[in-house]
């Protein structure tokens, strides 16, 4: 199968959907003439023209709100945040407007919009540029939150997100845009809300999503050398969450570790852990352990970063702990 980059998978998804439906448009900072700050939308201005691939000033609140209004009035906007760190100045329009509109209007107005961009750390950028918002948005009823971990998932899930009739937060990573993976030429969509078992195993379940999947899979590789077969579940979306997939796996392995980049308090890992104690209590042979970023902002120096982010070593330690090794 052909191999393409994560950014190309995103571009294909957007371009295919824009060819299919003229109401889909892309708007954001540097998306058109600069071809995207991270080159995701390279060439799209040439193909679709400035009416559909639209550069904005640095005015996230304004253009996020524009997107919501346009979606209420028949269009299907893709709003790009250069990174989700900058979505914070627009969060009112996401949480108060997009997420609540359908309920608030008694079902009159749905908001078919995709807010997309990078989440989480991208190396040494300091605290303002390194936050994770997956759990923030997942905490908001009315939104769907998609966090794909590889090019194949990225394409299928972005196409599904654009066709979805509810607002979707679609989260990428600067550190994944160059990742390569197999993506078929033929069209496909992936359903929102369905997890994917990225590696089969029977000894322990490792649950993760987004770029932390790399940590989870690398840890599983290491464990295999010691004869431990880890099952690695990629949640792919964190709202809704495919709880059943996690419970099914844990019924088999009886042990679970959750790896997540966000800070720990009120995180997706807390949520998974709650569901496991509620729905798989009798199957658990050890308490669930999570590996999150430490409970602090991410600072600049590499030593702080090593001490803060989840990594393979911490994941292996957690697995050993749940296996009483």
């Amino acid at each position: 199968m052909r191999v393409i980059q994560y950014r190309e998978a995103l571009r294909e998804a957007m371009s295919e959907e824009m060819r299919r439906d003229k109401n889909v448009f892309l708007m954001g900072e540097e998306v058109a003439e600069y071809n995207g700050a991270y080159k995701v939308s390279q060439g799209m201005l040439d193909e679709f023209g400035p009416d559909r691939v639209i550069d904005t000033p640095i005015a996230e609140l304004g253009f996020a709100g524009l997107g919501v209004g346009a979606a209420m009035n028949g269009l299907r906007p893709i709003i790009e945040f250069m990174t989700f760190n900058f979505s914070l100045v627009a969060i009112d329009q996401i949480v108060n407007s997009a997420a609540k509109m359908l309920a608030m209007s008694g079902g009159a107005y749905n908001v078919p919009i995709v807010f997309r961009g990078a989440t989480g750390n991208a190396g040494q950028l300091g605290a303002t540029h390194s936050s994770n918002f997956e759990n923030w948005f997942a905490n908001t009823p009315g939104l769907k939150v998609v966090v794909p971990s590889n090019p194949y998932d990225a394409k299928g899930l972005l196409k599904a997100s654009i066709r979805d009739n509810d607002p979707v937060i679609y989260m990428e990573s600067e550190l994944m845009y160059g990742d390569k993976g197999e993506v078929p030429e033929a069209e496909y969509l992936l359903p929102i809300g369905v997890a994917d078992i990225k590696r089969k195993g029977k000894d322990v379940t490792i649950v993760s999503f987004g770029k932390m999947m790399k940590v989870a899979l690398e840890a599983a590789e290491e464990l295999a050398k010691d004869g431990i077969e880890a099952e690695v579940i990629d949640l792919r979306t964190v709202r809704p969450i495919d709880y059943a997939a996690v419970v099914e796996s844990v019924k088999k392995t009886n042990r679970c570790v959750v790896v997540e980049e966000a800070n720990p308090l009120a995180a997706i890992s807390s949520e998974i852990t709650y569901h496991l104690q509620r729905n798989a209590f009798d199957y658990l042979d050890a308490p669930v352990i999570r590996v999150n970023s430490m409970d602090i902002p991410l600072s600049y120096a590499p030593t702080y970063i090593d001490a803060t982010l989840p990594n393979v070593k911490r994941t292996l330690d957690a697995v050993k702990q749940v296996m009483y090794k």
Binding site: Y34, L125, P302, T303
Partner: protein
């Protein structure tokens, strides 16, 4: 009639010390950042690194117009302001390296330089965020009955943030002692000012709030000084804020990885022809304010300062990773979630 050209003799209006300071501080900013650019290429400096090269007058000229008790805040293009205010270049360089001897112990990196001793209240990474904060800093000065003010720099791109407009309105409403400075270097990343609004005379946005607002030649350190001095007088008299648009230019890319396809070589060269350091040097020479020897001595001093700064940064230790837990709260025994 004599044609106005660069051959015209530039008149000196300020003291020898002031000219010497302008030349030396701007040269330090320039050489420091040229070195930082090289070190970025060698991956000694990581992350984003936004250079101020070409814009030095916007910091240097403002510094001489204010007092040491006035407060400073700016965006992420923030190496030059503290250098001009007297922050140890070694500490700034160490911060760019991420060393424990840096201005924030390696916490902030290039975009988040702070120096409390010199009232430099940060480098801020979110476009426009420093503008309402600058308003608040000025508000606190007035509230406490001081005669101090806050000078708040922002880029031309920041002007399109909603928060900036709210802050301008509030500043005028409360007659807050703030000098808002737009460093209009023509571009926000790859987007020219003209592509962000119909309003391209940026200083006029202040007029919407009845704020005294002026365009200033940001390549001339003297013009910057004059405009800031006037605005400061207004603020100290209790007349509130001023908006100044410094028309300037960044010679380098937005950050370190910018192919710069959005502008022409000629445009860059044109601005280099009006270089702020060359301009002030010419005034100094034309008027014999400093001798050749004095200028050479400054050049040497700056060269050594930069070398020493790099050496200091190189030799400084990395921070202890566990210190990432320090300074998250003032409360010393804050119970972090540890598992």
């Amino acid at each position: 009639m004599a044609k106005k050209s660069t051959a015209t003799k530039a008149k000196a209006k300020y003291s020898k010390e002031t000219y010497a300071y302008w030349y030396e501080s701007m040269l330090l900013m320039r050489r420091f950042e040229e070195k930082a650019g090289q070190l970025y290429g060698q991956q000694k400096i990581r992350g984003f690194c936004h250079l101020y090269i070409g814009q030095e007058a916007c910091a240097s000229g403002a510094i001489t117009a204010l007092t040491k008790d006035d407060k400073w805040i700016t965006a992420y293009r923030d190496h030059a302001h503290p250098l001009g205010l007297g922050t140890d270049p070694g500490a700034v360089m160490a911060e760019l390296f991420g060393k424990v001897t840096g201005t924030t112990k390696g916490k902030g990196g290039s975009m988040h330089i702070f120096d409390k001793e010199r009232n430099f209240m940060g480098g801020h990474g979110i476009v426009g965020a420093q503008v309402p904060m600058g308003l608040g800093i000025g508000f606190a000065e007035k509230y406490q009955g001081t005669k101090n003010l806050c000078i708040c720099h922002m880029g031309d791109g920041a002007v399109r943030q909603g928060a900036v407009h709210e802050a301008l309105n509030l500043a005028m409403l409360y007659k807050t002692p703030v000098i808002f400075v737009i460093e209009n270097n023509g571009y926000a990343m790859g987007t020219s000012v003209a592509r962000t609004s119909n309003v391209t005379e940026l200083y006029t946005i202040g007029e919407a709030y009845d704020m005294p607002s002026f365009p200033v030649d940001g390549m001339s350190v003297e013009a910057v000084h004059e405009a800031v001095a006037e605005a400061a007088e207004r603020a100290r008299k209790g007349d509130g804020p001023t908006l100044l648009e410094f028309r300037t230019y960044r010679y380098k890319g937005h950050s370190m990885s910018d192919p710069q396809k959005y502008r022409t070589r000629e445009e860059v060269e044109e601005y280099k022809g009006r270089d702020p350091i060359e301009q002030v040097k010419k005034t100094i020479m034309d008027n014999k304010i400093l001798t050749e020897d004095e200028i050479t001595a400054i050049d040497k001093k700056v060269k050594k300062q930069v070398e020493d700064a790099v050496k200091f940064a190189e030799e400084s230790p990395w921070p202890d990773g566990q210190d990432a837990f320090k300074d998250v709260y003032k409360q010393e025994d804050y119970p972090f979630v540890m598992e």
